[in-house]
């Protein structure tokens, strides 16, 4: 409104002023007015974006509850509206006039990701429906206060509604620490921390299924602390320590309260050139398994990722090669099961819209390490836009018992709402 007033003043005044004398002085005044319009427009944008504009922010800082003060200030306006419109049927509906507009400002960024899967072919050990709205993930993300932000991801799948992740991140801790508290995907390896829609495949690798938590990987309630460590120049070294309740997939089971699980990860990263980089990680996880409190499962993981993305043509071509190796040591009667598994994968972006890739899988089974399954899966992905993708994957699996699975999997992913971050 104020902008419009100022603009109309400008329009009406400008000719008169210019007629009187077209001097530098009027030029200066016009310029000053222009600057004011720009400042006002910035204020409007800030209000629309939900952040207080800088001067307003500093003024609001000492008050304890900004939302409360805003709503009381607007209370008379809100009260006037129903009085002015006492129509019987309409009055039943609550009138959210000014209040809802200001309340919206503090709403979290909401996004919905749809993941639709189709499958043809046969696999003796894995049953997937022919057509399945596999997962709908709803994300809520916002800054909580000057010290923390929160992220919630609710996953609605064919088995029901589940909190996939929901955690608070303390971004303002002293000493460069970043802490997370809540339910989260554990930081064991690379692929475990990724949501299924950010994977370069329609499924998770065999090694995840056999050794690292089953179908959906390791995910548990607990807390996580990470920090960048001192390292030689240009090397990024980060340590993460996580403590969990101890119930994760079919790997960890907490029979007693004290059966907590730990995950640790050390990550080293270096830019080799401006377009190539290498990422190495070592992970360790330890928790109690379903045999009982006295039985511990330990996981050791190594991962390596090589990325190439030429900066001038970043949206057209890139390459990602990755390998993850996992050793599992599971105490049970009568003996310890030592299993090993890995996958290697490569993805290459051919054009802005097409990506091809593939994955090789091999893994022992955690409960019977003598049984080894293996497989491979070529993948092709098409991106109509940044917000949707179509994927086809052929999956061949050879099981330890000699049987094999041959499947074609199709996936459609689409994103609504807030623009999420690109995965790295």
């Amino acid at each position: 409104m104020r902008t419009i007033c100022i603009l109309s003043c400008l329009v009406f005044l400008a000719p008169g002023i210019l007629q009187a004398q077209a001097t530098d002085d009027t030029h200066e005044r016009l310029k000053a007015l222009e600057e004011r319009v720009i400042a006002l427009e910035a204020e409007i944008r800030a209000l629309k974006a939900g952040q207080a504009s800088p001067p307003a922010e500093s003024a609001a800082a000492p008050t304890v509850g900004p939302p409360a003060t805003v709503s009381t200030a607007l209370a008379p306006t809100a009260a006037q509206v129903p009085a002015a419109a006492p129509g019987p049927s309409l009055a039943q509906l609550p009138v959210y006039s000014g209040e809802s507009d200001t309340a919206k400002v503090f709403n979290p960024a909401i996004s919905v990701i749809g993941d639709f899967l189709g499958a043809v072919g046969r696999d003796p050990n894995r049953s997937m429906p022919a057509l399945d709205m596999h997962e709908s993930e709803i994300g809520f993300q916002a800054t909580v206060d000057p010290y923390a932000r929160a992220d919630f991801f609710v996953s609605i799948g064919s088995e029901g509604v589940e909190l996939e992740e929901g955690y608070l991140t303390f971004t303002s801790l002293p000493g460069g620490f970043v802490a997370k508290v809540g339910k989260m995907r554990s930081g064991f390896g690379v692929v475990n921390a990724l949501h299924s829609h950010s994977l370069p495949w329609t499924d998770r690798p065999l090694v995840t299924e056999h050794l690292v938590g089953g179908h959906e990987g390791l995910s548990d309630s607990g807390f996580s602390v990470s920090r960048i460590l001192p390292a030689p120049k240009d090397v990024f070294l980060e340590a993460t320590a996580q403590v969990f309740r101890g119930d994760a997939g079919d790997v960890f089971t907490a029979t007693r309260r004290g059966d907590i699980a730990f995950v640790g990860r050390l990550r080293a990263y270096r830019d080799l050139t401006e377009s190539t980089n290498l990422d190495l990680g070592f992970s360790y996880a330890r928790g109690h398994n379903d045999v009982g409190t006295a039985f511990v499962t330990q996981l050791y993981g190594l991962d390596a990722t090589l990325r190439w993305k030429p900066l001038r043509r970043a949206i057209y071509h890139n390459f990602l090669g990755r390998a993850e190796l996992v050793w599992s040591r599971r105490q049970e009667e009568p003996a310890i099961q030592r299993a090993f598994g890995f996958y290697t994968s490569a993805d290459y972006r051919l054009t802005r819209r097409w990506t091809i890739g593939g994955r090789y899988d091999r893994s022992d089974r955690a409960r019977d390490a003598l049984l080894t399954d293996s497989g491979f899966a070529p993948v092709i992905t098409y991106w109509p836009s940044e917000f949707s993708q179509l994927r086809g994957q052929y999956r061949f699996t050879r099981y330890a018992d000699g049987r094999s699975g041959n499947e074609l999997l199709f996936q459609l992913l689409f994103v609504l709402g807030a623009h999420g971050a690109h995965s790295f």
Partner: protein, 316 residues
């Protein structure tokens, strides 16, 4: 029992490690010497360096020849961010795909959004193409708060530089006069340069151009050029045959002879259109450092205007 006590021992070990890292590894004495400024793009780094002079140390995350929408959130950037006193961003959701996770993970409380060391310069500039009415992604990758490529108007450059100078003065009050002086010098130099640029571009006011992406509204407005179409059918959507044919027909009908392309887009479609229409493809730089010659804000405009005037003359 042994299992439990070993679990506790493990927890103790982790706590000890955390203590060592947090307390023993020194929170490096932030000697009040130079302010460490990190910017998302090279242009902002240029403004910060112009007004900050010797009192600041400036580094940009993105390179000038990189698409600022698609920078990767590399961990090496966290190393820059965690020691920064001030983070300067373009805003208007230009960096939304990569900067938020970096800010969250860097463990530096001074530069979190809303903190004193976080500056979004879009608040200072004249913003164009603010969508009115309903905004949907059917329009492509639209920026709901307006076009973020606003630094390509020298007038906005001056405004951003002034905003940064004020911010630097707020963070380092003893340098306020220094920053003000440097801003005035920059502004004066910009005045001179602007006169020259305006004069060079004057003969071509009103000329029509086609652009690849909507990166140039502030530039074309300043120099009186008219953008009549984009090669992208919608922002962020790669060109398709139907839209390309429409663009070719339109260019022939309206006698449009110049196509502006950012250095990070594929030239195949623009070249094909140019062949059909007899137009010239101009790889114009949107940012400082886009080419070796464009070392600063002035050279950026020198470079772009030289290319533009040459193309307009050739297609007179």
């Amino acid at each position: 029992m042994t299992q439990r006590s070993s679990s506790l021992r493990f927890a103790g070990l982790i706590c000890a490690l955390a203590f060592v890292l947090g307390v023993v590894s020194p929170v490096l004495a932030r000697a009040a010497s130079k302010l460490k400024v990190v910017t998302s793009t090279t242009d902002l780094a240029e403004f910060a360096a112009q007004v900050g002079g010797d009192r600041v140390e400036v580094e940009s995350i993105a390179r000038g020849y990189q698409d600022p929408h698609f920078v990767e959130a590399k961990p090496s950037f966290l190393l820059k961010l965690r020691r920064a006193d001030l983070l300067i961003t373009v805003g208007l959701q230009l960096e939304i795909g990569w900067l938020p996770p970096l800010i969250t993970q860097c463990g530096n409380r001074n530069i979190q959004a809303g903190a004193k060391g976080y500056l979004d310069t879009s608040q200072f500039a004249e913003i164009l193409e603010i969508p009115a009415g309903i905004v949907t992604r059917a329009m492509g990758d639209v920026h709901p708060f307006g076009n973020p490529h606003y630094w390509l108007d020298p007038e906005n450059g001056r405004r951003i530089a002034r905003g940064i100078a004020l911010k630097l003065a707020e963070m380092q009050p003893e340098g306020a006069a220094y920053f003000e002086g440097r801003f005035q010098a920059f502004s004066k130099r910009l005045d001179e340069a602007q006169k020259a640029w305006d004069a060079e571009m004057k003969p071509f006011r009103g000329r029509k151009v086609v652009t690849y992406h909507r990166s140039w509204p502030n530039l074309t407005k300043r120099f009186g050029l008219e953008v009549v179409g984009e090669i992208e059918p919608r922002p962020g959507i790669p060109p398709g045959p139907r839209h390309t044919v429409e663009i070719i027909q339109m260019m022939k009908r309206d006698n449009v002879k110049v196509i502006l392309v950012e250095p990070y887009f594929d030239l195949k479609t623009p070249n094909a259109i140019a062949r059909e229409t007899g137009a010239q493809v101009v790889v114009l730089l949107p940012s400082v450092g886009g080419e070796k010659e464009a070392t600063d804000y002035f050279k950026l405009f020198d470079y772009d205007i030289a290319l533009l005037t040459r193309a307009f003359q050739a297609t007179q």
